[in-house]
């Protein structure tokens, strides 16, 4: 490592741009600038110094702020692509084949391409997650690369600075004070202390500093982001995160997926609406009533100790709760959320055993679709035998009725009606809007009378042990970003030369407007010569030349 020797005699590490001891410019680039680049206090940024080995190259790549900004922009653009069409998570179809069809049907050729490229599940895709991870790596490496040298510089900075340093600050002042020389520095010290600065004095040099901690703001908020990202990554560790969903009909008890040994019963699903007349925006949306509340009243059960799956008798009741949106049921780290619902699934069907000619009914039977009976006996001795039940009738295959699913979307029955008139029994196939009599004309038919329905609740089960980590990450981030944004680091150097001339330089990392107020107060109180803002002068000159077409 080549050391850089400064005029003042101090040896600086390679890559330093402002001398660690006196602040004089060391590199050719620095020397050519009118105003010093104070962003990292002139410390050597590792990545800009070495570029030899492969480790150097990788490190330097991720340490570059340009690369970091590019990664931010790429992430931003990638995320926006996922909003063009709804993501798979939000469309309510289950299998991959159905999804492909959905995108193609609803969105045409664009949808087809969108799905084929995997853009319909963008945020879970590997490449997107890699982009986010790369951004995380960039944050970590860039912070280490810059934060550590910055910290060292701030800690070791000296009170007396080289003339070259002083003259190259944005705010400078030089001249005779308007009062006698002995008092000036004392006035300066006092004035700065009143302005709440931390004042250090060495002979005839003063360094007043305020708000150094705010320089660390960026690094702290980066730590917060990384902690947050770690929290998110931990979702993938088994046991840290459960994300399941279940559909539960009223009256059903079911094992809770992801929560061993627990069962949930849907006692009741409640849907309340407001009794208002539909108004403006509701009419526009085609909404007839506005939902006031949807709530599932549940009972949570637990198996006894040492039980195994399948042993669902003798469950112990744990608690009862009405799950509403914004009010999940919580138990031992698990939470149940009211997500969705479906109304009016057929539960019971009531039929009349009717004489086709006379339209007289011999009696009613009520079939509980969750528990159909083999034989229904009527009061007068007539019987209806249930030969077959097909909840979701989808057609015949070789004469046998088929069911597509187990959900009673399209219930169909094969009845054998045994009456005093027809003791051998008449067979009838009954579906919605369809009655078939395979043995020829029957005397009796099963006439549909009534249904009872029940509702179904869609619940989400969540268990997330990473939440505390996420909260900590968020808090650290907010602290970092607050101290970085709302406080600033101000420094004022004042020195009195042998002939009484006062030389002043000032720097802040942001909010020069307020800094100048401090300087104005100081100038007035200590009778200092007026300071100038070198950057504003430069800007104004620049604007002037632009306007008048003059060149300097």
């Amino acid at each position: 490592m080549n050391k850089l020797l400064c005029e003042c005699g101090h040896e600086n590490p390679e890559g330093t741009t402002l001398c660690q001891k006196c602040g004089s410019p060391l590199s050719a680039e620095e020397k050519s600038k009118k105003i010093a680049d104070m962003r990292y206090e002139g410390s050597a940024i590792r990545s800009k110094t070495y570029n030899k080995s492969i480790i150097d190259k990788i490190w330097n790549f991720f340490s570059s702020v340009k690369v970091g900004i590019t990664l931010i922009i790429i992430n931003l653009i990638a995320a926006s692509i996922g909003t063009i069409l709804p993501q798979e998570f939000y469309i309510s179809v289950a299998t991959d084949a159905e999804k492909e069809k959905y995108y193609s049907d609803v969105y045409g050729w664009f949808g087809e391409i969108y799905y084929a490229l995997g853009l319909s599940d963008l945020y879970s895709s590997l490449w997107f997650q890699l982009l986010v991870l790369m951004l995380g790596v960039s944050i970590i490496i860039a912070s280490i690369d810059r934060g550590i040298p910055l910290h060292k510089s701030l800690k070791n900075q000296r009170v007396k600075r080289h003339t070259n340093f002083m003259k190259r600050q944005r705010i400078i002042g030089e001249g005779k004070p308007t009062e006698t020389r002995e008092q000036t520095l004392q006035l300066v010290e006092q004035s700065l202390k009143n302005l709440k600065y931390n004042v250090r004095r060495e002979d005839s040099s003063i360094l007043a500093e305020r708000g150094r901690f705010s320089r660390y703001g960026a690094y702290i908020n980066h730590v917060g982001l990384i902690v947050f990202l770690i929290g998110v990554m931990l979702h993938l560790v088994p046991g840290m995160y459960v994300d399941e969903s279940m559909w539960l009909r009223e009256g059903e008890t079911r094992a809770v997926p992801g929560m061993d040994g627990y069962f949930l019963k849907n006692d009741k699903f409640i849907l309340e609406t407001y009794d208002n007349v539909p108004q403006g925006e509701q009419i526009k949306q085609g909404v007839n009533v506005v939902a006031k509340n949807f709530q599932t009243d549940v009972t949570l059960y637990k198996q006894k100790e040492n039980s195994v799956p399948g042993q669902a008798e003798n469950l112990e009741e744990v608690k009862q709760y009405g799950i509403q949106v914004n009010h999940p049921l919580k138990h031992e780290g698990y939470a149940f959320y009211q997500m969705d619902f479906r109304l009016n699934e057929i539960k019971t069907m009531v039929f009349d055993l009717t004489n086709k000619e006379t339209e007289q009914s011999l009696g009613q039977i009520s079939i509980d679709l969750t528990n159909p009976q083999e034989m229904y006996t009527l009061d007068n001795g007539a019987q209806v035998q249930l030969m077959g039940y097909y909840p979701d009738f989808s057609g015949f295959k070789e004469g046998v009725p088929q069911t597509a699913t187990q959900t009673p979307n399209n219930p169909a029955f094969i009845f054998k009606m045994i009456t005093p008139e027809t003791p051998e029994g008449e067979t009838s196939f009954v579906a919605i809007q369809q009655t078939l009599e395979p043995e020829g004309d029957n005397i009796y038919k099963m006439k549909f009378s009534n249904v009872e329905t029940r509702h179904m609740s869609g619940l989400t089960i969540r268990y997330d042990r990473t939440i505390p980590i996420l909260i900590v990450g968020g808090i650290i981030f907010m602290i970092g970003v607050a101290i970085g944004s709302y406080w600033n680091h101000r420094r004022i150097w004042v020195e009195q030369l042998a002939d009484g001339t006062i030389r002043l330089a000032a720097h802040t990392n942001k909010n020069w407007f307020s800094m100048k107020k401090d300087l104005d107060a100081l100038t007035k109180h200590a009778h200092l010569p007026q300071y100038v803002d070198q950057q504003e002068i430069e800007n104004n000159e620049h604007v002037e030349t632009e306007k008048d077409g003059k060149t300097l």
Binding site: I55, A312, T405
Partner: protein, 169 residues
């Protein structure tokens, strides 16, 4: 030196994340080689079947439903092979997806299924084994570990082969 260590740690963290993300869905379902979760079901005749009690015997745990066509296709073959393997200490337990007793009994009678059939009314066993598509057959060895998990229809030849491989020595 330090940077090298930091880069390595980061590389490992990313590598693990990528690996975990890719294999996440596959880890969920109980896997071949793992211990089969113990369970207890009651069959249509009222008899209890507990997996632990079958230690020393092979068990085919089949998950099905009446609407499932592939299930319908493979049941006759399963019934036939059951007749053979029953005497070689391989048991088949068919667990139904919480349908009504009526439907299940009718179906079993029509298909002439001879092995124990149980209804998982609360889907507890289905959940414990994280079953998705039907049919799914879990072949459990006499020591209680899972030999293989088959989702989808099996040919008679496959049924023979798989049941053979969980036969006790």
């Amino acid at each position: 030196m330090t940077r090298g260590i930091i880069l390595t740690i980061l590389a490992i963290a990313i590598g693990y994340t990528v690996y975990a993300a890719v294999t996440k869905d596959k880890i969920n379902i109980v896997q071949a080689g793992a211990q089969a979760p113990d369970f207890e079901v009651i069959d249509l005749h009222g008899e209890k079947h507990r997996l632990k009690d079958y230690e020393g015997k092979g068990v085919v745990l089949n998950f099905w439903g009446t609407w499932c066509e592939p299930c319908e296709r493979e049941f006759p073959a399963m019934t036939r092979q059951y007749a053979e393997f029953k005497h070689q200490d391989v048991q088949i337990i068919a667990v139904n997806f919480a349908q009504s007793e009526f439907e299940v009994k009718k179906y079993v009678a029509n298909m002439g299924m001879t092995f124990p059939v149980a209804i998982d009314k609360t889907k507890s066993v289905f959940t414990a084994y994280n079953i998705g598509p039907l049919p799914t057959s879990i072949f459990i060895k006499p020591d209680g570990t899972i030999n293989r998990i088959i989702t989808g229809e099996m040919t008679e030849g496959e049924i023979v082969q798989y049941m053979e491989s969980i036969k006790p020595e």
